[in-house]
Structure formats: structure tokens, C-alpha cells
């Protein structure tokens, strides 16, 4: 599976190969943790990007809205093959999961009200909640550095979940306050 491609950026990759590699990652990255699969596929196996670039692209993906998996597909696809690369990589990444979830909707329509299905689905909902909280704790460990950061977290969560503030307002107000709090101030402005 591994092409003897040189490590020099950016390697020449056909659109078909780009689609296939992202399709395989989109089909095999079970149970979330897509970032790990992306690194294996892009950095280790195909050497399409090096580790420094990967971390850089990941930090863009995490800062901007959108999911990490699709944002990474867009950025890597663009880097390797421009606009078409973006489209092909994103389609490959999304197609397997989308097909499965469309199938799940039809299956749910047929058997979703069955008490056995419901018992199963209530069970996985509880399990998924455990996963969400872990993802949150791991994300928090990376970005929360001071007491103020924790206050921003609690204020945002309380506003949305406690007082029913709409997410965009919370995002804009808390975002501006938090960015201003971390504003650059060690040097005089240019």
C-alpha cells in the first residue's frame, strides 16, 4: 500500500489515489479518534505531509468551525492537489459514514420503536455521553491554562445549558471576552 514517494513537499498524488486514501480512512476510523487515523494515513504510510505540517494543519482545523476530520481533509487535499484535491479528499472521508448513517435512518424507521432496539440505543447513548466527557476533558487539558480559562468554560456552559442562551450569542460574547483577555500585550503594537 505504501508508495515509494519522496518526502519532499508537495508530492505528486493522483486524484484517484487521494480519494482512495481518504475513503479508506473514512471507512476504517471507527469509534472517533479520527486524528490518529489521519496521522497514520497521511504522515506515516504515505508521507504526504510531515509531522510539523500535520500539527500546524491540525491547529488550524481545531480553531476554525467545522469538524477536525473534514477540515483536515480540506487542508491536506488543497495542499496536495488544490481545489479538486479538497473536494475529492472530503468526499472520500465523508462517503462511508454518510452511507452508513443514511442506512441507519431507514433501519431506525423499521425497527427503532422495538423495545429491544430502544434498550440498545439507550445503552449506547449513555456510553456516548461517557465518550463526549472524555473528549472534553482531553480538549480541556490542552487548552485550559489559567483560572480565567476555567471561568470562561463555566460561564459559557452555564449561559447555554443553564439559562438557554443561544449558542451564537454565547460564542460571540464569550469569544470576544476570552480573546481580549489573552490579547497580545508583551510588546507595543506595530
Amino acid at each position: 500500500m505504501s508508495d515509494p514517494a519522496p518526502t519532499a513537499p508537495p508530492p505528486t498524488v493522483s486524484l484517484a489515489r487521494l480519494f482512495w486514501v481518504f475513503f479508506v480512512m473514512g471507512a476504517t476510523s471507527l469509534g472517533g479518534g479520527v486524528v490518529g487515523y489521519l496521522r497514520t494515513g497521511l504522515v506515516v504510510r504515505n508521507r504526504w505531509v510531515d509531522d510539523v505540517t500535520f500539527v500546524e494543519l491540525l491547529s488550524i482545523s481545531q480553531t476554525l468551525p467545522g469538524l477536525n476530520a473534514t477540515n483536515m481533509s480540506i487542508l491536506v487535499g488543497d495542499r496536495l492537489r488544490g481545489g479538486w484535491g479538497t473536494i475529492v479528499a472530503t468526499l472520500g472521508m465523508c462517503l462511508p459514514g454518510a452511507t452508513l448513517m443514511i442506512g441507519a435512518a431507514y433501519a431506525y424507521g423499521i425497527g427503532g420503536d422495538d423495545p429491544w432496539s430502544k434498550a440498545f440505543l439507550h445503552g449506547i447513548a449513555a456510553g456516548a455521553l461517557g465518550l463526549i466527557v472524555v473528549v472534553m476533558v482531553q480538549l480541556g487539558a490542552k487548552v485550559l491554562k489559567s483560572l480565567a480559562d476555567y471561568l470562561f468554560v463555566l460561564a459559557t456552559a452555564a449561559a447555554v445549558a443553564g439559562f438557554g442562551v443561544q449558542v451564537p450569542y454565547a460564542l460571540i460574547v464569550a469569544g470576544i471576552v476570552a480573546i481580549w483577555w489573552h490579547r497580545p500585550r508583551d510588546r507595543t503594537p506595530k
Binding site: L64, V153, R187
Partner: protein, 178 residues
């Protein structure tokens, strides 16, 4: 046609809220799909969301399920395009500008500031999700055990989540808890 338009509007809007991951959009996802448009019930939304965590690829492919429920395959296509196109174009554009922004003094401030706000949004999503998912002590225990297991080990999350479903079935079979 009206429903396809509604789907496009709802999911394009939701996509812009996914700062820090899909869970950040969960509070608005619940409001719009359950309370405003009545496309699914809250338990159904939780079920689709949880199935979506099990599916490979990006963890919000459940938007395709909601689209299918509302308007079949065209609904799924509209929901997917609406959910991925706006942020996709934004990421694509900013990705090209980013190299020029590497030395921009405000960049670390934006990354750190938005980081804490996005953790807050994920927390809000988790609280709202918990209100529906933690229906009794058993399900609270399942969530707690999965949390600890995933925090302490490197096990693939798909296994404990499927196991949670099996425990749900066993509890229903043995004790009628569902």
C-alpha cells in the same frame, strides 16, 4: 421543497457553531430539530447522535440520518452539503491565508480564547445530552464507567459504546429496565 429549504438553513447554521467539534453545536441541534421543527424526538436525536459516534469518519454524519428522516435521500444530500459546505469554504480560504498569519500577534490569543469557549460549549452540550441519556442509575453508571475506561486506557471507544448497548439489552431482558 419547503422541508429541503428548512434542512439547508438549519444545518448550514449549525455548521458554523461547530467550534471545537460537533458537540459544541448540540444545544442548538436539539432546539432546532426537536423543539422548533419536530423532525425527531429528543430520545431519537440522542440515538442518532450516539450511532453517529460509532460510525467511521467525521463524528457528525448523523446529520445525514436527520436529513433522511425528513425528506429521504434528497434530504440526506441537502443536510450533508449544508452542514459541510459553509465551514468547508471557510477552512479552505483561511487555510490558504494561514501561512501569512503565522506571525500575526493575535493568533495565539484567538486560539487560546476560542479554545476555552469551545470547551464550555462542549460542556453545555454534554449537560443537555445527559438530561436525556441518564434516565436512571444504571445509565448513569454506564456513562461513568465508559468515561473512566476511556480516560485511563487507550481502548477504541467503539468497543465500550457497543458494550453499553449490550448492557442496555441485558438490563431490559433481566429486569425490564429500558
Amino acid at each position: 421543497m419547503k422541508q429541503l429549504g428548512d434542512l439547508a438553513g438549519v444545518f448550514a447554521y449549525l455548521s458554523l457553531l461547530t467550534v471545537g467539534g460537533g458537540m459544541a453545536a448540540f444545544p442548538e441541534l436539539k432546539t432546532l430539530t426537536v423543539d422548533v421543527h419536530h423532525w425527531v424526538t429528543f430520545p431519537q436525536l440522542l440515538h442518532y447522535y450516539s450511532l453517529g459516534q460509532l460510525a467511521p469518519g467525521p463524528n457528525m454524519m448523523m446529520v445525514a440520518s436527520i436529513g433522511t428522516v425528513v425528506a429521504g435521500l434528497p434530504g440526506a444530500a441537502v443536510a450533508l452539503v449544508a452542514f459541510f459546505l459553509p465551514t468547508g469554504v471557510l477552512t479552505w480560504g483561511i487555510g490558504r491565508l494561514w501561512t501569512h498569519m503565522q506571525t500575526w500577534r493575535w493568533r495565539p490569543a484567538i486560539q487560546t480564547g476560542l479554545g476555552s469557549v469551545s470547551v464550555g460549549l462542549v460542556l453545555a452540550g454534554a449537560v443537555i445530552m445527559a438530561k436525556g441519556a441518564v434516565v436512571d442509575a444504571l445509565h448513569a453508571a454506564i456513562a461513568a464507567v465508559v468515561f473512566l475506561l476511556l480516560l485511563k486506557t487507550k481502548v477504541n471507544p467503539a468497543y465500550p459504546i457497543v458494550a453499553s448497548g449490550v448492557i442496555g439489552i441485558l438490563a431490559y431482558w433481566l429486569a425490564g429496565i429500558g
